[in-house]
C-alpha cells in the first residue's frame, strides 16, 4: 500500500468507527433547510433562491468537518508521527484533502436529495449541478486543509478556521450559486454561463491545490 493510500484509509476508517464528522454535517444541513423553510417562509424554492440556500448550507456544514480534520492528529500525536516517518509530508495534505472531498460527496449524497424533496419541483438540474458541486468540493478541500492545519495549531482553534475560510470561499460560492441559479431554475435547467462557472471553479481548485502543495510542508515543520 502506498503511504498516501495508508493515510487516507486511516482517516476513513477512523471516521467510520467514531462517526465524528459525517452525521453531524448531515444533521446540520437538514436542520438548516428546516430553518430556511421558516426563515424565508417558502415551501418551494427555485433559481437563485434555491442555489442561495443550498450552497451556503453545504459550505457551513463543510466547516464542521474542516474544524475537526486535524483534531485527532493534534491530540494523539499524529503530527509527530508524520514528521518522523520517511515520507513526503505533502502526502498528508493530499490524503486529508481527499478525505475531505469524500466526506463532502457523502454529505451531498444525503443533503441534496433531501433538499430536492423539500423544496424543488423537479430534480432535472441536479445531474449537471453535481459536477459543479464536485469542483466546489475540491476547492473547499484544498483551502480547508491548509486553513484547518493553521487553526488546529493555534490557540484560537475552532474560531480561526471559519473566520479565515469564509472570505476565502467567496469565489466558490459565486461559482456554485451562479451555476445553480440557472440549473435549478423553475422552468427546467438552463445552461447559460455553465462553462464560465466551471472555468472559475476549476481555476480556483488549480490555484489553491498548488498553493497547498507548495506551502503545506512549512506548516508541519517544528
Amino acid at each position: 500500500m502506498t503511504p498516501f493510500a495508508a493515510l487516507l484509509r486511516k482517516d476513513l476508517r477512523v471516521e467510520l468507527r467514531t462517526l465524528r464528522s459525517l452525521p453531524a454535517m448531515a444533521l446540520f444541513a437538514v436542520t438548516a433547510f428546516v430553518i430556511f423553510r421558516f426563515g424565508l417562509d417558502r415551501t418551494t424554492l427555485d433559481g437563485d433562491l434555491a442555489a442561495g440556500v443550498l450552497v451556503p448550507t453545504l459550505l457551513f456544514a463543510a466547516l464542521l468537518a474542516i474544524n475537526r480534520l486535524f483534531v485527532a492528529e493534534r491530540e494523539e500525536g499524529g503530527f509527530d508521527l508524520i514528521r518522523l516517518a520517511p515520507v513526503d509530508r505533502t502526502l498528508l495534505f493530499a490524503a486529508k484533502a481527499s478525505a475531505l472531498v469524500i466526506y463532502l460527496v457523502v454529505l451531498e449524497l444525503i443533503a441534496v436529495p433531501i433538499f430536492a424533496l423539500f423544496f424543488l419541483g423537479s430534480g432535472a438540474g441536479l445531474l449537471p449541478f453535481a459536477l459543479i458541486l464536485l469542483l466546489m468540493n475540491i476547492g473547499l478541500a484544498a483551502t480547508g486543509t491548509v486553513i484547518s492545519t493553521i487553526a488546529t495549531m493555534s490557540s484560537a482553534r475552532d474560531l480561526l478556521a471559519p473566520l479565515i475560510l469564509l472570505p476565502l470561499l467567496v469565489p466558490l460560492v459565486i461559482g456554485a450559486a451562479g451555476a445553480g441559479e440557472h440549473l435549478l431554475a423553475a422552468g427546467g435547467p438552463d445552461y447559460g454561463g455553465f462553462g464560465k462557472w466551471l472555468g472559475l471553479l476549476g481555476l480556483y481548485d488549480l490555484i489553491f491545490l498548488l498553493v497547498g502543495y507548495a506551502t503545506f510542508d512549512f506548516l508541519l515543520e517544528d
Binding site: 483551502t143 491548509v146 486553513i147 493553521i150 495549531m153 493555534s154 490557540s155 484560537a156 474560531l159 480561526l160 473566520l163 479565515i164 469564509l166 472570505p167 476565502l168 467567496v170 469565489p171 459565486i174 461559482g175 451562479g178 464560465k196 462557472w197 472559475l200 481555476l203 480556483y204 490555484i207 489553491f208 498553493v211 507548495a214 506551502t215 512549512f218 506548516l219 515543520e221
Partner: protein, 230 residues
C-alpha cells in the same frame, strides 16, 4: 547603518510630501472639473490610488512571505507583516472613500453592483483575519511561518477574487473610468502623480514601522544586557 537609514527615511518622507503635494495641487488646480460629477469627482484622486497601492501592498506582503519561507530569515517575515499591516490601514481608507464616492455618484452609501468595491470588501475581510491569526500562535517561528502561508494564500486569492466578483455581475455598472486610458490628459497626469505620491507614502510608512520595530528590538536587547550585567 541605522543613522544612514534614518537619513534615507527622512529623504523618503520629504519626497513623499513633495510628490503628494504636487499630485493634489494638480488634481485640484490643474485637472479640469468633471462635466457630470463636478467637484465630487476629485475623490477619485484619493480613492483609486489608495486602492491600487493597498492591493499591490498585499501582493508585496505575499512576495516577502515566499522569501521568508525560502530563507527562514525573520527579516522577510517582518517585511511581510508590515506590508500587510499598512495595506489594511489603506484598505480601511479605501472603503470609506469608496462609500463617500458612491453616495455622491449614485446616491447610496454602498453599491453591491460595483464589482471593484465589493471585491475590495471581500479582500479586506480576509486580511482582517491576519491579526487574530498571528496573535493566536505563540511560538515565534511557527507564528512567522503560518503568517507567511496565510500571506501567500491570500495573495493568490486577490486576483482570483476580482475575477470571480466581476463574473458575478449580470451587467457592468456604468463606471467613471473604464481604464486610465479613457481619462483626458490633464486628469491622467494628476492621477499618475497622486498614484506615485500614494505609493511613496506606503513605502515611507512601511519603512518607518520597520525602523521602529528594529529600534524597539535593539532597545529590548540592550535592556536585557543591562539587567544581566547589573
Amino acid at each position: 547603518m541605522t543613522a544612514l537609514q534614518s537619513i534615507t527615511l527622512r529623504r523618503l518622507a520629504i519626497a513623499t510630501l513633495v510628490v503628494m503635494g504636487a499630485g493634489y495641487a494638480l488634481a485640484f488646480l490643474y485637472a479640469p472639473q468633471d462635466a457630470q460629477e463636478g467637484f465630487a469627482q476629485k475623490i477619485f484622486y484619493l480613492h483609486v490610488p489608495l486602492a491600487i497601492v493597498s492591493l499591490l501592498g498585499f501582493i508585496v506582503g505575499g512576495i516577502h512571505a515566499i522569501r521568508h519561507l525560502r530563507t527562514g530569515d525573520p527579516k522577510h517575515d517582518a517585511r511581510s507583516y508590515v506590508s500587510i499591516h499598512i495595506s489594511i490601514i489603506f484598505g480601511l481608507a479605501v472603503l470609506l472613500t469608496g462609500a463617500i464616492w458612491a453616495k455622491s455618484q449614485w446616491g447610496e452609501w454602498w453599491e453591491w453592483r460595483e464589482p471593484t468595491l465589493v471585491s475590495f470588501l471581500i479582500v479586506f475581510l480576509l486580511y482582517a483575519t491576519y491579526y487574530p491569526l498571528r496573535y493566536a500562535i505563540e511560538d515565534r517561528d511557527r507564528q512567522a511561518r503560518y503568517a507567511s502561508v496565510f500571506a501567500i494564500t491570500a495573495g493568490a486569492f486577490v486576483p482570483l477574487n476580482f475575477l470571480a466578483v466581476r463574473l458575478a455581475q449580470p451587467y457592468i455598472h456604468p463606471r467613471t473610468f473604464s481604464s486610465s486610458g479613457g481619462l483626458p490628459g490633464e486628469m491622467l497626469l494628476a492621477f499618475l502623480v497622486c498614484l506615485a505620491g500614494m505609493a511613496l507614502l506606503w513605502v515611507t510608512l512601511v519603512w518607518f514601522e520597520l525602523d521602529a520595530k528594529a529600534a524597539s528590538g535593539n532597545l529590548a536587547k540592550i535592556r536585557r544586557a543591562l539587567e544581566a550585567s547589573a
